[in-house]
Symmetry: C2
Subunit: 664 residues, 2 copies
């Protein structure tokens, strides 16, 4: 099915590098070496070849075996601080888990749950006693954990979780309890079978008073895998995809755990039951805790992006070998990729994959630097990071859903066969728009940050409440560029607003269109919010009245951040031919975004009738320019040959494509 | 999981009917009784309850067992002429198969293959000797057939199939042969396991001359299921969905069949090898044959629509029980359905489901009448029917993909659990956009009909060839309304083109906007085609240059046909309250279509800047108007309680929804 040759690193001397390799290097970014190592690891070991294993028991065993192999190689150490037994390279940790998505999404999710979420909770919410006891066995898989946050009744609004952890000073224990059916922990990865211990989020109650949601380490199974007394786990069974992840449910019936099992970095209870915390506000405390877990969200976005790259690589390579319908006068039938429609289906999605990839790199870099800074983090930077993580997670997972769907359809009946991999990519990633924060809720979170000038007090409020605090003057964050300041300003100064077609290919023009849209949407959203509050009788009605406008503003913000990252990414590319391709891809990305919101640009007179037609012409033009480079562009996405895992690509024509790809 | 009470017919006396029941009756259309019988059958027999059976062997057995049960009830007789042993009610046949989609899509596809495609080939391409021999056992399942058209190398361009059927006058046999790997029959439902006989499409060769694609009855397996000599079948294995359908591949190594096995209605070979046909042109003959098989395409569109209704019913009912986030001052958390965004995610899709449902009804009705007319069919009517079938199949299957995806996401994590059914609906229907004609190719077919004034000679041409024939004056078909002429003209006369918000709710205005767009796009496409031919050097380049414009024109045409059907559907509704809801839904449909193509309307000055903003306001307004009726609207979609098959709908809140639904 896939080539079995050993993975050959693309790190050659400059003279030997292909354009595709330069593209990959640019798109790989700061953790290029980590990505190269992962490509080699996943390619050279047949145990990590993409597989289709629909049976739950088989898939779960396979995933766990893969995890043990990774653990044996010390794969997880990057995610933990040196003093806790890791290497403290957050960027590498996030990047390695993302790369697993190219092999198998169940593996990526399972690794993300064990090391990112469970391990992350221990690492970030715990203190020395927890680090000593749990970090090493978590890395080595001697301790299999799960992350028990979501409940049947509460997923998006986790502040309202119902599970209680009531302190009993008599025995110096917390009593973990599920008081209602809706308080059952649900969809928890690992809870069905493998996890022995859970990081349980519950309302901490002591002396009859609740102090909000905290996290507790709760053993749930014995050595043999039987539920411990008071714990009832059950299996979620089949899902849309991710068969290798054993999602399950947990009910607690007054389960007692030692006081020390509270992860007490942000809140503690003394032996006699007195609560203390360095953060006074319950809401702020909660969001600080959740904020430290932002890594999970970053990883999910990155992994969705990786899956989209695999799908687009498969569909594009198929379109470069599959012919259908003969044009008059031609000896052969026409390649799918030669149809303009087919180019328009795939190339803009490839462009967006690049765009989001560059943005993801900047996010991971910011996350890494922030975590390296330890306790010296500026809270504003932390919140900005969380906002960007939320926005990019939404953008990238939506992109993945769309790109994989299009890739599947673009391969026709062959695309529907499991052996060609696209259907599993679609099924496995489908939940990514939902978990680690529902995309609509996350987009709203972005809007909240934009509209409230980061006022601390709004952070703990529900959606219809915080809107009341939207300030007349909008947060400075709008103006703040996320990528290389100076380049961006230089480019912006070259904007051309004339009516000629070519002006839309001007990067400064594109950037200013993105910026103007964002500013206009945010400021008008703020005004409408205030107006609505005066008119409508309830805060909820006011919120509802402008909800779509507010979400639109947030999406415009994310688009701008992504475009800026693309521009900075081009600047970082060291090869002229590769730069030129990236520049054309960037045009295609920018024009596609404008095209999708073209009615808005026209309605608000940011685009004249004449110019509006030039947008579509520009997209067609760039598709034609990029068509001859299609193989190079997907090779640049950095999915190794062996990880495509698509049977049809071994059909006739594959060799020709492979030759193109390897053409130096 | 589902209610176990017997299905209660909604056919009560007028005084007792609920608004939802009036909606269902209107949407059910001419075969309302067939639908009611199917609802009762599928609800009252637990063997037809929706199920999740991922294992291939189990799923295939279950589906076959269900088929046998249906056959035992004479389920398939409607699809065959009275003189062949059926009842000759084509509309009922299509409608019953469509209704199976509400229970299980594998069953629908398997039934569609056996009775619609295989049976349809026998019925429509065969003559008396075939009808006598095969129709009865096909109905009774004593003969299990498959429809072997698609090959590994050719799916969309079936005129270029490679399988050969060479006549040998010595033995008076045809020799069926697969000369190349790409000529292998592929993805064939039934070929992996159950089918004993195949309707094989192959190039008929006699006396060294090819006469194009014809259909042959070829036995492929013996009684015990072993491949017959020269036949090699294999199993496609797992697919994205449809586990109950045993798709497979067939290779023929010089398999001999009697001369009489040629389905010889449109072309025959005499004993000594002379070819004869009532249709001289090879291409026209081929399209005439394929045209008689249009029923399959109609059924696929209808079934996709049925699956979308199930998904939207589930997601809407979930949104009416699920609460998340508490608004300040409210005692309870807010219902998902009360968020404007959530309304905008689901209600326009519900509106589109109604719209496409009405259009599908008209299509089935036209198909029925045409088939009833037998050989007296006006070829223009036949081609118009084929064009509409192609367009609606594309529109409805794309709608299903989108609606089911949105429904899944709108249910969050719960939506990802197999027990809640949405993921299987998505996986099973995903191939509908591809099979029975790839949607892009079908949309192109619509354009072809529109642009070439139905010139007979262009019918057999490939896409880049026929464009040369595009006439300066566009086909009259554009002007021809598809539904109740008179009502439409009356309504059209009331159009209001003023700038007031309300004017966009005027049906005449909406209709004329749809019509104007279609006319403009078609006439400009024709002009551009001609211009492109003068400028570009090859027909293919000319075609490629305007491909997106041409597809846009076809989509605009389909949108108009659908809107007209909706208008006629409202007219046929006999209850005032139901009419009012339908009218609001129709506004939502029309405005959603305009919103999605708003930039075009503005670019071409069919919508002013001021008015353009009113479109969005109108959509929000209609969402708010329809919100209180959400339960009624989905009840109107006509999916019986027992066929929802979604575990989460038995959760808290379901009873309240059920009460609302039954509120008379």
């Amino acid at each position: 099915m896939a080539t079995t040759e050993a993975y050959e690193s693309t790190d050659r001397t400059t003279a030997e590098k292909t354009t595709a390799e330069y593209l990959t290097a640019a798109l790989d970014g700061r953790w290029h070496e980590v990505r190269e190592r992962a490509r080699a690891d996943l390619t050279n070991d047949p145990d990590f070849a993409p597989h289709y294993t629909p049976d739950l028991a088989e898939a779960r065993n396979k995933t766990l075996a893969q995890m043990r192999k990774l653990a044996g190689r010390g794969y997880a150490a990057d995610g933990f601080a040196t003093e806790h037994g890791g290497t403290g390279d957050t960027g590498a940790a996030v990047t390695s888990i993302e790369m697993l998505a190219m092999s198998d999404l169940s593996l990526m999710v399972k690794a993300g749950v064990q090391w990112g979420l469970f391990g992350g909770a221990i690492e970030n919410l715990g203190t020395a006693r927890h680090h000593e006891q749990y970090v090493r066995p978590t890395i080595d898989l001697d301790l299999l954990g799960c992350f028990a946050m979501t409940e049947t009744g509460h997923g998006s609004d986790v502040q309202e979780l119902e599970t209680t952890a009531t302190y009993d000073p008599e025995t110096r224990e917390f009593v973990i309890h599920s008081p209602t059916p809706s308080s059952r922990k649900d969809y928890i990865g690992g809870a069905a079978e493998h996890a022995r211990t859970a990081a349980v989020f519950a309302q901490l109650v002591t002396g009859g008073q609740s102090h909000g949601v905290h996290c507790f380490v709760v053993p749930i199974r014995d050595e043999d895998g039987n539920d411990l007394p008071g714990v009832s786990t059950s299996d979620c069974g089949y899902k849309g995809g991710l068969p290798g992840v054993d999602n399950g449910r947990i009910l607690f019936d007054r389960v007692r755990i030692p006081r020390e099992n509270l992860l007490n970095r942000y809140g503690d209870v003394s032996e006699d039951g007195e609560y203390s915390s360095p953060i006074e506000s319950t809401g702020r405390r909660f969001f600080t805790m959740v904020g430290t877990l932002v890594r999970g969200r970053v990883t999910v976005g990155g992994s969705a992006g990786a899956a989209a790259r695999v799908a687009l690589s498969i569909a594009t390579r198929y379109a470069l070998q599959r012919r259908q319908f003969q044009a008059p006068g031609d000896a052969e039938e026409t390649l799918l990729m030669d149809y303009l429609m087919h180019q328009k289906r795939l190339l803009p999605l490839i462009a967006r994959s690049y765009a989001l990839g560059f943005a993801q790199n900047e996010l991971v870099s910011a996350l890494h630097d922030l975590q390296a800074a330890g306790d010296d983090v500026d809270p504003t930077d932390q919140r900005e990071l969380e906002g960007r993580a939320a926005g990019l997670k939404a953008a990238t997972t939506w992109h993945a859903t769309r790109a994989i769907q299009e890739a599947r359809e673009a391969c026709g009946g062959a695309g529907y066969m499991a052996e060609n991999r696209l259907t599993a990519l679609k099924a496995d990633t489908d939940v990514f728009t939902t978990f680690e924060g529902d995309n609509h809720v996350l987009t709203q979170l972005v809007a909240k940050e934009l509209l409230t000038s980061y006022a601390e007090e709004v952070r703990e409020m529900g959606p219809s409440d915080w809107m009341r605090f939207a300030a007349t003057t909008v947060s400075d964050v709008v103006k703040k560029r996320t990528a290389a300041q100076q380049i961006l300003q230089t480019i912006l100064d070259t904007r051309q607003d004339n009516e000629e077609d070519g002006s839309l290919f001007n990067r400064g023009t594109q950037m200013s269109m993105f910026e103007d849209r964002e500013e206009y949407l945010i400021s008008t959203a703020a005004r409408r919010l205030q107006g609505a509050q005066k008119r409508e009788d309830s805060a909820f009605d006011a919120f509802n009245f402008v909800q779509d406008h507010v979400l639109h503003a947030a999406r415009a913000h994310i688009d701008r951040v992504v475009l800026e990252a693309f521009v900075a990414g081009i600047d970082s590319c060291t090869d002229e031919a590769a730069c030129e391709l990236l520049s054309d891809l960037c045009d295609l990305y920018a024009l596609s975004v404008i095209e999708e919101d073209k009615a808005w640009f026209m309605s608000h007179r940011h685009l004249s009738v004449e110019r509006s037609k030039a947008v579509l012409r520009g997209i067609n033009e760039r598709c034609r320019t990029l068509r001859p480079h299609a193989a190079t562009l997907v090779a640049g996405l950095g999915v190794p040959e062996a990880l495509l895992g698509s049977a049809m690509l071994d059909g006739p024509g594959t060799d020709a494509v492979r030759d193109t790809l390897l053409d130096r």
